[in-house]
């Protein structure tokens, strides 16, 4: 068991793709934590989706040992974090378990929006920052210019910056040395009552909840009787250990260490991220401050295609939330879709990933309804309600004021694209705030604009405008009154609440028309005519009809044909399972997304 003076805890933070996981690979290899034989690229990215997409989605802690030039062996607890803005809560949680952070900057791409955002997060947490220029091996690296950007944007002096390559391993020993020398040893009193921060969890079918902890004070041993302070539940520790990177049991975790424990916790609601673990007999008096829960940016409904899967979905959501407390879910009933959940996400990628994790890991077929942001409505009776679903918007007469969320958004772009960004922002009802130059070539442009106009596709638009060189970051600012309406969709004269959207009145006609046109393409022909209408209140603003299927008949049906036909029909029936039956009309999943894309 190392003394706190021989422990260093740090996260690796950066903009997306700047090489965090690859640098972590080098740490694992160069400290001998993993052998060449067991190695694969971005080894810590162990979730299937992470490997398929080549991005980190959740934090990955690992403990390594490094012999420093002073002859001492240090225990380094590192946490690799995701770079995508939608997963920034993972970064916040990781930082709270550390005293320092490696801030990686791609030596070619330079300072990007999440470089700035994550660096500020680390500073707010009072962490020591070790700035590292990464990918120094690439021919187009421009280290001096990038260091100048770091100085302008973050006040980091060039002489503080280390240079490394996660790919070749160049400069990695220096980075390990700097971690030990520049990051403070964990504080805390090893003989004080136990205080450990729960910074993450996952569910294991055999062991129950695996609780990821950072011990702040005292220590916790195998067999210790412990208490979770928020709910006062008592447990005894059945397994305790470290991530190396697999779960390796040990006897004890002491002040400053990072690891996990299990205690046959089967009721997932018992465990809260940010809660404090203490000793049952000799408890701490005050819990750790924990985390501020993040505010979801987008909401959408998740409905099982088969209503019988509702309970399974609830359980799956619960387990997933243990591992990612940045999404929220509450039950919701839709006339068309039956029982499901209204879920809140940090962004569109987050929404997509959660959906896929549920469908894959839990083998559920889901309908995802179109996403929307949160609104506030001042009703004529003077009360203010919070609306996370278009279905909850009261009828026109009861609405005094409709308010929408505004974000402050920072675009970091090559100077030559400033004009493009300004027209994009103007199109989206943006209000210009300021421009700052990082260098003559690169600028930060700041706007306030409605979250709803940003969240769905602004990132994609920015990427295509700037050929990938522009990045952005945003934070919620306030709610402002706006002229908004609920646009409803009627399929075969039934209102499908899951297809309703909230739009600005000036855009309602156009949205209505394009939405109906999209739906027309997505919904197949039926044996009868299907009417599609878009309406605001009782006023129909767009309509289309899907003509009835007129001819669908096999002329010949003899011997061998019969088998072929039956297989085809059985296949069609299976296909229909992925559709939602609304009234007599079968609506495919894609149709629910049409609402999303109806603006192009």
């Amino acid at each position: 068991m190392p003394a706190p003076s021989l422990i260093r805890n740090f996260s690796i933070i950066a903009h997306i793709d700047h090489g965090k996981s690859t640098l972590a690979d080098q740490f694992l290899l160069q400290t001998g934590t993993i052998t060449r034989r067991d190695f694969r690229d971005q080894l810590l990215d162990d979730m299937d989706l992470e490997r398929e997409r080549g991005i980190t989605i959740q934090m990955h802690p690992v403990t390594i040992y490094h012999k420093h030039t002073d002859g001492q062996t240090y225990e380094l607890n590192l946490i690799d974090t995701p770079g995508h803005v939608d997963f920034s809560y993972e970064v916040s949680r990781s930082l709270a378990a550390c005293e320092g952070a490696i801030l990686l900057v791609d030596a070619f791409q330079g300072v990007q929006a999440q470089t700035v955002a994550n660096a500020f997060l680390a500073l707010e947490n009072n962490l020591a920052i070790v700035p590292v220029l990464n990918k120094i091996d690439i021919a187009t690296a421009r280290p001096d210019a990038v260091m100048a950007e770091m100085e302008t944007a973050l006040g980091i002096k060039p002489e503080q910056c280390l240079r490394a390559s996660g790919k070749t391993g160049l400069g990695v020993p220096d980075v390990l040395g700097a971690i030990i020398e520049r990051i403070p040893a964990p504080p805390g009193d090893p003989i004080a009552p136990l205080k450990a921060l729960i910074y993450n969890c996952h569910f294991d079918t055999y062991k129950g909840v695996v609780v990821y902890i950072r011990v702040m004070e005292g220590s916790v041993k195998l067999g210790s009787k412990i208490k979770l302070m928020r709910g006062n539940q008592e447990f005894s520790v059945i397994e305790i250990g470290q991530f190396r990177p697999g779960m390796v049991p040990c006897q004890e975790l002491t002040t400053g260490q990072v690891g996990y424990f299990t205690a046959q916790i089967k009721i997932i609601q018992d465990v809260h991220i940010g809660d404090t673990v203490t000793d049952l007999v000799n408890p701490a008096t005050t819990p750790l401050p924990g985390y501020k829960e993040p505010q979801p940016m987008v909401y959408s409904g998740l409905f099982p295609t088969d209503n019988e899967d509702f309970e399974d979905l609830r359980e799956a959501l619960g387990k997933l939330r243990l591992n990612d407390s940045s999404f929220t879910f509450i039950p919701e009933v839709s006339d068309g879709l039956g029982f499901g959940f209204r879920c809140g996400f940090l962004g569109m990628l987050h929404r997509e990933i959660i959906g896929q994790r549920l469908e894959r890991d839990c083998d559920l077929d889901l309908v995802h309804t179109a996403p929307n942001v949160t609104y506030q409505i001042l009703k004529t009776d003077g009360t203010v309600i919070v609306v996370n679903s278009p279905a909850d918007v009261p009828d026109g007469g009861q609405v005094d004021e409709f308010r929408e969320p505004i974000v402050r958004i920072s675009f970091l772009v090559p100077s030559k694209h400033i004009g493009d960004i300004m027209s994009l922002a103007a199109e989206r009802r943006g209000e210009y705030i300021r421009t700052e130059y990082l260098s003559p070539e690169r600028a930060i442009i700041v706007y306030d604009l409605p979250l709803a106009d940003m969240i769905f596709d602004m990132y994609d638009k920015l990427k295509s405008f700037t050929h990938g060189y522009g990045t952005m970051d945003y934070e919620l600012k306030e709610f402002r009154p706006a002229d908004l309406v609920r646009l409803d969709v009627l399929v075969h004269h039934n209102r499908v609440d899951a297809l309703s959207v909230i739009v600005h009145r000036s855009q309602a006609d156009r949205r209505g028309r394009s939405l109906i046109a999209k739906l027309r393409k997505e919904i197949g022909r039926h044996m009868f005519e299907v009417a599609l209408q878009a309406a605001i209140g009782s006023r129909v603003i767009a309509r289309e009809t899907i003509a009835a299927k007129k001819k669908d008949v096999t002329a010949k049906c003899y011997g061998g044909d019969i088998t072929r036909k039956r297989k085809l029909w059985a296949k069609q029936a299976a296909g229909k399972k992925r559709m939602k039956q609304v009234g007599q009309v079968e609506i495919p999943q894609e149709a629910f997304l049409a609402v999303l894309q109806s603006d192009d």
Binding site: M527, K550, D552, V553, T554, G559, T563
Partner: protein, 336 residues
């Protein structure tokens, strides 16, 4: 023949149908041996139907004599069209001039004749098709089949369509042709008894009735299907492969499938619904062990409301509009 003789003992049957490769192309001597083998292994009951497919240009007096001498009592003549252009499109080697002589030759010995027609041929108009129907009716066959043209993958026609050399007739036009068949034929004493089949009184094709009741049947030869003891089997479709298998003393079956009781009931439902007789609830229950209403749940409601099916409490059948979308209906009712 070899495949036939592999049967352990003769199996008496009520109907025999020889089709597919057009047996009338066989030299009379070989045809004779085939028919002898059939007579030996599949003796036909006294009131049985023995039906053979023939193309107009392959019918000679000699062939017809061989057929009639061996108990064949029904011939289905693949006329397809009375118009040269359509026959060329369909890659047929006969011309309109072959039809009447062929029919006369058949009728000399065999009284029960069916004509097969195809509609929806590229460039065919509704008027063309109506003329084909009139021509067929004027020849007074006992039975008429009208098939909408289907482009089977890999056939020359399919390839021509893929290359854009020919264009399928528009759906609306094909639908009009189909409805014209129903109207014309029923006005001329041909009663529709299945989607594509029409017959004079008591002249329904016995073998078709077996297919569409989903009853058991044997099948021999290349690509033949059989349905015996609840098991569906399919012979290989490639002639060379078929011959090799038979010569090696192996079975010609390449696909075999035993359906469970419920799947088999759904299939029966799907097939029986194609008949004008539709589904008789009582018979269906006796036959499959499943109640119609239990299988289809509430799915018929919308079909009834849209008048695509009719239900008199005992029988459920397709309406005139229902025939046109039979596949969609059957798929929905039987499979959900």
């Amino acid at each position: 023949m070899i495949e036939l003789s592999e049967m352990k003992e003769p199996a008496p049957v009520n109907s025999i149908f020889i089709g597919g490769g057009t047996p009338t192309y066989l030299p009379p001597l070989i045809l004779k041996r085939l028919l002898q083998a059939i007579n030996e292994w599949l003796p036909l009951g006294s009131a049985g139907e023995f039906s053979v497919e023939a193309t107009p240009e392959s019918v000679s007096d000699e062939t017809i004599d061989v057929l009639a001498d061996h108990g064949v009592n029904r011939v289905s003549l693949g006329v397809q069209s009375f118009q040269k252009e359509s026959l060329v499109q369909l890659d047929r080697i006969h011309g309109p001039q072959h039809v009447i002589p062929a029919l006369e030759r058949v009728r000399r010995r065999i009284a029960n004749v069916s004509l097969d027609l195809i509609f929806g041929v590229p460039d065919q108009s509704l008027a063309d098709w109506e003329r084909d129907l009139e021509n067929a009716i004027s020849l007074a066959p006992e039975h008429i089949s009208t098939y909408g043209l289907t482009y089977e993958k890999g056939t020359p026609m399919w390839k021509r369509r893929e290359k854009g050399l020919i264009m399928a007739v528009p759906e609306e036009a094909e639908l009009d042709m189909y409805l014209a068949s129903i109207d014309r034929l029923s006005n001329s004493d041909y009663q529709q008894y299945e989607i594509s089949n029409f017959a004079k009184r008591d002249r329904r094709c016995r073998h078709n009735e077996v297919y569409w009741a989903n009853d058991a049947y044997f099948g021999f030869g290349v690509g033949a299907a059989r349905y015996v003891q609840g098991k569906r089997e399919l012979n290989c479709r490639n002639t060379a492969d078929y011959i090799k298998r038979i010569m090696d003393g192996r079975e010609a079956t390449t696909q075999s499938e035993a359906l469970n009781a419920e799947d088999s009931a759904r299939e029966t439902l799907a097939i029986q619904l194609r008949r004008t007789d539709g589904i008789d609830r009582l018979q269906f229950l006796e036959r499959t062990g499943f109640a119609y209403d239990g299988l289809v749940k509430s799915r018929p409601n919308v079909l009834l409301a849209e008048q695509l099916i009719a239900d008199d409490g005992r029988r459920v059948s397709l309406t005139r509009r229902g025939y046109c979308v039979a596949d969609a209906i059957v798929s929905k009712l039987a499979f959900g």
